[in-house]
């Protein structure tokens, strides 16, 4: 039961109603919760926050309880039709607009060797395009061969090369399609999201090599070419949305993840919706508003970052090992809301604290992938984020945080600046409007 003072302060509201609590320092919005029948803290007003958790506010801190203002209306889902104004800044002679295909290798550029059954990167950008003539229905096509690298061998130097090539291409074309191996495509797409901050840069590939009848490569290339013609300032991945050949999704590069080793619809948006739905006949429908940004090429990158996973009975000394080895930043895949072990075997907290104190920022994401890190719910979390000064990765994918931390460290080594940049939303890597139906989209 609430104290008399709290009863008075909330007399205009019923439990369950949305209220705004004004304190000296801030205004907090949430649902008014009833106080438990038996409680040790009747002077604490209980508020259910939008993140689903409850918070308690002491009555002495409450200046006023009022009705919240109307929330901003949600952005209306826009429909884009295939019109000529898709190409508002056509930079070429080609009326249909101009798309450059940059080939880096991978299964989409592979042929099967039927003697062994194995596949090897072999096709050039031109050869890939010649197998899918339909792409010329939507755009004039240019080509650039950058490498012949399978997914597992792509590294940060390839990211820089791709970004430079895409930047050059965007000066002369309406958009860029980058063909890439699928396994690490989401790492590359995240990297170019930070390196370029403009677009359209559309990564695509195939789960079955292009010379096979059952290949998904044709539809992926067609949809990607259509997406690259939109002029949107987005960098992302365009692949099959379903196991059938019906339509593709364009997923923001910082929110995409390969979630299946072989399915055509392996790429899913994590903590996000796709940006657009694209049909191979040229129709395209926006699912959310594209990012509004236009940055310059910025490939400053520090590759001395490592990604470490926390699990039951795991060894925190691996943190010390990386620090001793000269790492400049660490990303930890914590459990649940962003936990690391604090007992079992050995606590991770001292190693994290030592890393941070020696100048190595430690970012914690969640290994659940979906959902977000929340540094306020459990006491162990407060120790990790407020005492050991780990940086919360919020709802960012561990893979995106790994790429972003390298990019941030390419710009500054100052701990407070690193924290500030890690929490700035450069490329849609954070989603403040995370909704339940984003789970397993």
């Amino acid at each position: 039961m609430y104290s008399d003072e709290l009863k008075k302060k909330t007399k205009n509201f019923s439990p369950g109603e949305r209220i705004k609590v004004v304190t000296d320092k801030k205004e907090i919005e949430g649902l008014l919760m009833p106080s438990p029948e038996i409680t040790s803290s009747p002077e604490h007003l209980i508020l259910k926050l939008d993140n689903g958790y409850n918070t308690g506010i002491h009555q002495d801190k409450i200046k006023k309880v009022k009705e919240p203002e109307e929330p901003e209306p949600k952005s209306i889902q826009q429909e884009y039709d295939q019109e000529t104004d898709w190409h508002p800044h056509s930079k070429s002679e080609c009326e249909k607009g101009n798309v450059k295909i940059i080939n880096t290798g991978g299964t989409v550029a592979s042929k099967v060797d039927y003697r062994t059954g194995a596949v090897n990167a072999a096709l050039s950008a031109e050869e890939i395009a010649s197998l899918v003539p339909e792409i010329r229905d939507f755009s004039c096509i240019d080509f650039k061969q950058v490498s012949e690298t399978m997914s597992e061998d792509i590294g940060y130097k390839n990211w820089i090369e791709m970004a430079e090539e895409a930047d050059k291409a965007l000066k002369q074309n309406d958009g860029v399609v980058i063909t890439h191996g699928t396994d690490t495509m989401h790492y590359s797409a995240a990297a170019l999201s930070f390196f370029l901050q403009k677009g359209p840069v559309v990564f695509t590939g195939a789960q079955r090599s292009t010379d096979r009848g059952s290949s998904d490569s044709a539809m992926n290339l067609i949809c990607s070419t259509i997406m690259a013609g939109t002029g949107m300032n987005e960098t992302g991945i365009c692949m099959h949305a379903t196991p059938s050949d019906d339509y593709c999704h364009f997923i923001r590069g910082t929110k995409a993840r390969k979630m299946h080793s072989s399915a055509r619809n392996a790429f899913r948006p994590i903590n996000d919706k796709p940006v657009a739905k694209i049909w191979p006949d040229g129709k395209i429908k926006g699912i959310q508003d594209p990012l509004n940004r236009s940055g310059e090429l910025d490939t400053k990158f520090d590759p001395k970052v490592e990604l470490v996973k926390a699990y039951p009975s795991s060894d925190p000394e691996v943190i010390d090992y990386h620090v001793d080895n000269g790492v400049n930043g660490l990303v930890i895949e914590g459990t649940g809301l962003g936990h690391v072990p604090t007992q079992a075997r050995k606590s991770w907290i001292p190693s994290i604290k030592a890393a941070v104190n020696s100048g190595v920022p430690v970012v914690v994401c969640t290994q659940t992938l979906y959902g977000r890190v929340d540094e306020n719910v459990y006491s162990n979390l407060r120790t990790l984020y407020y005492d050991a000064n780990a940086i919360s990765g919020k709802d960012m994918l561990p893979e995106t945080a790994y790429v972003k931390l390298g990019w941030v460290l390419g710009h500054t080594k100052k701990m407070d600046k690193v924290q500030e940049m890690m929490h700035e939303n450069y490329a849609g890597e954070f989603n403040d409007r995370l909704q339940l139906d984003d789970f397993l989209y």
Copy 2:
């Protein structure tokens, strides 16, 4: 175009038809594929395998091409109704059957401290049960308090303790419910799947503490108690199947993963369907056949195992570090079909080869989580699995492989025996009938 000899051998079949190819060594089933118009290998018969990949078989190796036998009919989904024969081996005086609740801590055993908003493990098994009186409608309830540990601090010693307590309890009760923090519940459920190999052992917990009105704890406990009364020899996780309070899923312990940091329906089956669907009114419906097994308690476990992730530009020296540090086994989360970097920065292959040659088995799973490792598709994979002798984790979760490898190493250190045991299906950790609709179930 196929050679004349191949045309002759396949004359009774049309392209696309299912055939069985008999060679000296084995019989291979798949769809007969046409040979490409222009091919460098007309003597290779092309067969599309059930995993979606094509393979080539040289004509000299083909003894016969024949019709495949009728495949075994699929298991029929069974419906279980709440009848007394749920309790075929009731070991107590209680007519409704007897379920023991073993409490290990976690959010389900936590109370909110509204002064700080934080939650702490505080409730005993009895207190949890007293907040959910409905569980007594289905069973007589016994209690056992084992620890008060939050998820992040559960380690292998807790697994052994839980297994011993569950084993004792199963001798006197029809089933066991273990209340547990959710973050690492799937690691513990996997561990007990190997340690016990009988059941029912039902892990459950809560995403919101039990003393909250919005808690998911009540329904999870009720469904778990119902599941624990079935007598099935399964160990797994029983939690909300949807974001609403409608029904729960019981997911096999080796196939369950927490996929969302805060949603009620965070636990999902990966590469599997749930075993059963359970409504809080007592209805239970089987989705697949339960495992048929009844093993003895076997907690032999070697904790010297570590889990390492491979990613672009990642450092293979972390393998050497763990080996130098005295690790007895390693699990790698590879990319896609089970790759590790072979160029960019440095190849992982020599470090893996050195680890295996020094007696440390290396198991590779996929970081996509869904789908399986396939050691035959790409040449880099063949090097990893056939030359460096890494062990394929197939469709096993990396977390399950981590637990299993520790259990296997508790029984043997001989490399060939480790490989054999890692590939034996003890607790439903492999799913040979992986279907497309298992993705994002």
